[in-house]
Amino acid sequence: MTSRNLITPAQNTWCPGCGNFSIQFALKSVLGELVQSGTSLDDVVLVTGIGCHAKMADYLNVNSFYSLHGRTVPAAIGIKLANPQLKVICCAGDGDCYAEGLDHLIFAAKRNVDITMIIHNNRVYGLTTGQYTPTSPLGFRGRSTPGGTTELPINPLELMLASGATFVARGYTRNMEQLRSLVKQGLLHRGFSFIDVLQICATYNNMTDYYHEHVDDLKDHDISSFEAAFWKAREWDYNADARIALGLFYRQVMPTFEDRIFAHPPDNTDRQKRIEEILQEKM
């Protein structure tokens, strides 16, 4: 399939001003570009978790696997191993992927599975009406922490670099050109692509002004240097005031999980014959 209306008739229920619209637009336009350069939409699969971000599965008219909360990654890995021809994109939330499903995320990076993770990081639970997430700053007053959180946030970029991700980037929903570019590069990267997208939650955590004052594009940065990426990733800890670098932090080409698993092509021996052989060995 080369072209189609990429938006389904499903009624969109995101709040006005929600950052999800930007990510949807970026993804939609990148998919359009990929179709122009020969990718078939038939081979695209979108995997989402549960949360506001995940409604993308209902809204984008592509193959989709609308999973459980926190469970984008294992589904994506299963899909990729079952059919390596498919282009698998995960849209996940910060609560979804950094809290409920963090173990899977680390393993996806460790394995270098050829999937693209787009994290809709609005640093708050939206659909459950405003609680802190793993990336909310210390003291964040949410409905479960009315006196402010008593724990520091995690830095997902640092975590993903340490876990072996071969493509690590940070985007921002109000920086559309860069976001599109990062999503496109991520989709074209062979291996595990991780894009943490700072996203506005118009209702529960509208950080537009803060981000506007603090974001900077990465400049004079060597994306092949793990040390430089790590240092840059640590400049802002998702907590204290600091400049927030945006762009591609790190890229490295490594064998993928699928490359290693399918290093030897599957043996298409007749199952019945093989069962007979095994039973003969057990006599």
Binding site: A57, N83, T269, I278
Partner: protein, 554 residues
């Protein structure tokens, strides 16, 4: 009746499991049906391991409580098993390490030194001495060692030969037939059944007693069109399996109760999204971590009710190697035909028990793969959850030209788009329900409830899972009927009632404290009159169950 039991015991790391298998193969070559119960604690080196090998002229699936031959690599084997020793039990022991034994003394240390053989070959010395004591011809040992030992066959044979020559014939085990059968574990039978049923991928996190399915299939994978993956945890396992299935590959997973706890969210997701998946649950003693390496049947209600919401599920509880093979194959095929999760419910006794496997026995293995009249139509109008008469929607996979395949864990419309619409919610619940009804109709055409023994006896033993074997032996001794439900869900009530026809007294046998199958039957209006329950992690021996049933019927 030819019925011989051999116990071999030693420390973990002594190779007791493989020694038991070698002894079983000796009997196999003499024409016997065999069964091995392997008992080991949850540790790697040390501790006491033992295997009870039983050989008989009829199909068996349980051990006896006394031994005809006892092979001791250490003193523990004597002291821990005094109750298994009868006056006529032939004891064959390591002269240096089982100093408290009397009987056939084997100079294991001297033989190993003379042959320059490692400690692990000590059990070959004991096997050699045992074979002589049992009057087994030397050429049988040669053949068994050559067929079944993976390495250093010649050295093992030399060690065995020295012990064989030094021992005396005490009690000759008769040769009863020429034919011999493959000897496999319940786990291997399930693995082979999954392969037969068309499984493309096996995904599992190690957990006793099903880890050996993972090991077996991982070893076989290079020679088959299957992929084997060991992910980070059981949540990852089940979701990955659903990913495989969504993309068109038949996936199965394996675990025990603890791992299945983590899988329940994925199970419910499978129910909602109508993605087929096969889950092997090998029960062990719970709750919690329980007795990791011991048996139990306390998860029947757990697998029946696991997962939020209502959705049809297939649950089968095979009772021996042949049934494990057959029903694992059927589980894959039926899960895909009806797009439902299927659970193969085993227990440690079955999963890690070792059985003679008769290929001729399994019976019908190929139900119609599709529901007639509901053809797959792909293209722009495709809906993954199209409403049909049977409730089963023809399934397309991503990558299909011009076709969008949307699955979801939310309540959804025919196109797989989430909805909160009251009418659609109701229609979709009814759609899932219909699949369960159709599945039951199909189950009813298969042999879902089996009967054995005195089929006209008014007293019946009700057994499920591995207890089938021990119940059949006891029923044979007492002339009773045995009723064994293999399919647990959807419950084959018609067949159960038919099996109960003429029964005036029903005695249930279960490895749990609450009588879980009994209460399932009570829900269907069937009353169990007496219960024989065991919940110490150990399987019933034939003799123990015999006594208990006699007490109940007194």
């Amino acid at each position: 009746m030819n019925d011989i039991s051999v116990l071999i015991g030693g420390k973990a790391g002594d190779g007791i499991n493989s020694a038991g298998l070698t002894i079983a193969h000796l009997f196999n070559h003499l024409g016997y049906r065999v069964y091995i119960y392997f008992d080991y604690p949850s540790l790697i080196k040390g501790g006491h391991n033992f295997a009870i090998v039983r050989a008989s002229d009829h199909k068996i699936g349980a051990h006896r409580e006394t031994a005809d031959f006892l092979l001791a690599l250490n003193n523990d084997t004597i002291t821990f098993h005094t109750s298994m020793i009868r006056p006529d039990t032939e004891i064959i022991f390591d002269k240096d390490n089982a100093t408290r034994a009397t009987g056939t003394s084997v100079p294991v240390g001297e033989i190993l030194t003379a042959e320059n053989a490692p400690q692990i070959m000590g059990n070959s010395a004991l096997i050699g001495a045992f074979a002589k004591t049992a009057g087994i011809q030397w050429d049988v040992i040669t053949e068994v060692f050559q067929r079944n030992l993976q390495k250093e066959t010649e050295k093992n044979l030399s060690v065995a030969r020295k012990a064989y020559d030094a021992a005396q014939i005490k009690r000759t085990v008769p040769v009863i037939g020429p034919g011999h059968l493959p000897i496999i574990t319940g786990n291997e039978a399930m693995g082979l059944g999954l392969i037969h049923g068309g499984m493309d991928a096996y995904i599992s996190y190690p957990m006793t007693p099903t880890s050996n399915i993972l090991h077996f299939l991982a070893e076989q994978a290079p020679h088959l069109p299957i992929t084997v993956v060991h992910p980070e945890n059981e949540i990852g396992v089940i979701i990955m399996a659903l990913g495989f299935a969504y993309a068109g590959k038949k996936a199965a997973v394996g675990t025990s109760g603890g791992g299945f706890c983590l899988m329940t969210e994925g199970l419910s997701f499978a129910g909602q999204s109508e993605i087929p998946v096969v889950i092997v649950v090998g029960q062990r003693t719970g709750p919690g971590t329980g007795l990791p390496t011991y048996t139990g049947q306390s998860d029947l209600h757990f697998v029946l009710h696991a997962g939020q919401g209502e959705f049809p599920r297939l649950i089968v509880a095979p009772g021996d190697a042949e049934e494990s093979y057959r029903w694992s194959s059927l589980a894959v095929q039926l899960a895909w035909k009806y797009q439902v999760p299927a659970i193969i419910l085993g227990d440690k006794t079955l999963n890690e028990g070792t059985y003679s496997f008769d290929r001729k026995e399994p019976g019908e293995l190929h139900p119609d793969p599709e529901i007639p009249g509901e053809a797959l139509v792909t293209g722009p109008g495709y809906g993954r959850y199209r409403l049909t008469g049977s409730g089963v929607s023809p399934c397309a996979f991503p990558g299909t030209p011009e076709t969008v395949v949307k699955i979801t864990s939310y309540t959804h419309d025919e196109n797989g788009i989430s909805t909160e619409d009251a009418k659609i919610s109701m229609v979709m619940a009814e759609k899932r329900r219909k699949k369960g009804v159709r599945l039951l109709e199909e189950i009813d055409r298969l042999e879902a409830v089996k009967t054995y023994g005195g089929r006209s006896s008014p007293v019946a033993l009700l057994a499920w899972g591995s207890n089938k074997g021990v119940a059949c032996d006891v029923a044979g001794l007492l002339g009773l009927r045995v009723i064994q439900p293999i399919v647990i869900s959807p419950f084959p009530l018609r067949q159960m009632k038919e099996a109960l026809s003429g029964v005036t007294r029903l005695v249930s046998i279960e490895d749990n404290i609450e009588g879980q199958l009994g209460s399932l039957l009570a829900g269907h209006g069937i009353t169990v009159d007496d219960q024989v329950l065991k919940y110490d992690g150990r399987p019933f021996s034939v003799d123990e169950l015999h006594r208990k049933v006699m007490e109940v019927l007194k």
